[in-house]
Symmetry: C2
Subunit: 296 residues, 2 copies
């Protein structure tokens, strides 16, 4: 396993981690500059953060600073109550693919969606099997376009506590079943067109995690996200902990990832209304660097 203790060359910052610096918006160009100043080599930005500054301006800044992407957030949210809604999700994901391409992202992360309407408090239907079917069809359609431009798609299984609102793919096993169905190994001799983003926060509890990471192998393992699970966890979405402050065995899981062939970045992604988003972004980045070296 790679030794992270001596430097932070394999650290990436998911820019949601510092987007709410001191409780207020920290623009992406400032975040990139702060990363560059600290020798952070990679980021994974969100589309709205890119749009707020301007896609071309961000692309230029990335070139100027030499910072690369470890992923791009995000496409997906496929299920909808009607065909127009499903079409809108596909169109939106195509735009995300185009942006990911322009920013030289190694993959577009898919948060696949779940029961339409649930995110705003009222599910328009409750048949999770229907949502899963629409997700399958949506990925299949996005994949067709993604293949033409050469942008790998990474399904991110989300924690089961997000199954109603954000993603009805909740285990690595389910995500890999979709990969094997929609992107059979025989059809992509080189890299996979469809793979997975493994976020420790979402999957650490899974008794089949080691087995499924091994099954995925290097071709499917497109991203590795870290943060920590706090006890207690006070909010289902925005109470993630800094690495080392919770109970996730990050080195153990990274060992499984690397044994399967993963050799990419370790991307820090922390949503934290109550703690890290109340701090100054630069100090949060410094803590990410320190923890990346000491506990990841």
């Amino acid at each position: 396993m790679r030794d992270f203790s001596g430097d932070h060359q394999w650290l990436s910052i998911n820019t949601a981690t510092v987007r709410n610096s001191l409780g207020a918006d920290w623009p992406l160009d400032k975040i990139i500059a702060a990363c560059a100043a600290r020798g952070i080599r990679a980021i994974s930005p969100w589309r709205d953060q890119v749009a707020a500054v301007g896609l071309k301006r961000i692309a230029r800044q990335l070139q100027d600073t030499g910072i690369v992407l470890s992923g791009y957030c995000r496409g997906g949210f496929y299920p909808a109550i009607d065909a127009a809604g499903r079409r809108a999700a596909l169109d939106d994901t195509e735009r995300a693919i185009d942006e990911a391409k322009l920013l030289n992202a190694p993959c577009l992360v898919l948060v696949v969606g779940a029961l339409p309407g649930a995110l705003s408090g009222k599910a328009q239907y409750t048949a999770i099997s229907r949502a899963r079917s629409e997700v399958r069809d949506g990925i299949c359609a996005s994949l067709e376009y993604a293949r033409t431009v050469g942008m790998p798609l990474a399904i991110e299984p989300l924690h089961p506590m997000q199954a109603a609102e954000r993603a009805c793919v909740n285990t690595l096993e389910h995500a890999l079943d979709l990969c094997d169905e929609l992107d059979p190994p025989a059809e992509s001799a080189g890299g996979a067109a469809l793979g997975v983003a493994v976020d420790a926060y979402h999957v650490w509890w899974d008794p089949k995690l080691e087995q499924q990471i091994a099954r995925a192998g290097a071709r499917r393992l497109l991203a590795w996200h870290v943060c920590d699970w706090l006890t207690p966890t006070r909010d289902l979405l925005n109470d993630r902990g800094m690495m080392g402050d919770g109970v996730i065995e990050l080195p153990k899981i990274r060992r499984w990832m690397e044994a399967a062939g993963y050799a990419g970045f370790s991307e820090v992604e922390i949503f934290s209304t109550l703690d890290w988003w109340q701090r100054e972004g630069g100090s949060v980045l410094d803590t990410c660097i320190e923890r990346h070296r000491s506990v990841c």
Copy 2:
């Protein structure tokens, strides 16, 4: 599938549902009387509620009212930092087995435990594989005693969001793997000594749920718990919804249970600091009866 619309003969009340009536303690003898007055035929009480009134008094009241148990809560919490802690958990579970026997419970529910200390905010170790190994050994030891007195044990897989604090068995598949290992079908020709309690709240998200319920079969399906998953869910433990107020497809899952041979009670178990525990217990019971008939 059984028709629940005409009566509530298959309704059971997990007494945690009304234990905090109007925000204050509602003693178990009062709860039993309120159930009896409504023709509710079964309950599933918690040990501390029984102890507060007195075990023998509750046993007598159950006999007098003709109310039976659909389960008894709970044994388990096996993992501990040292041998003394693990011994204490085994002893405590033996006492729970004795009480369950005295109350003629059909099974003792096991909340198996997880990372010791995590429930009070500081895990004493973070190796979930160690916790799982201690859970396996603990169930094995409890089972030996439970067999001698003839009390089936029901492993309740808890939602993965409880993996750190309350139970490191988080899928029905994992629970059934333990059942098959520790209580092989060949060894118990009659009923199983070890089975599962299927709580819709904990397992509704699982893409393998239908398959695993079928695998379990009638022998292993010892209990069926219902409530609902709210969107949003504001608390990881105590924000369960009344059946019909959330997104769980209860009739669909009950159909799977009954197709596998389950023919027991539908037990309502709602932990709800913010809503149902603020109401008067009798009206909550009335709502349980109404929803049992209309949406379960």
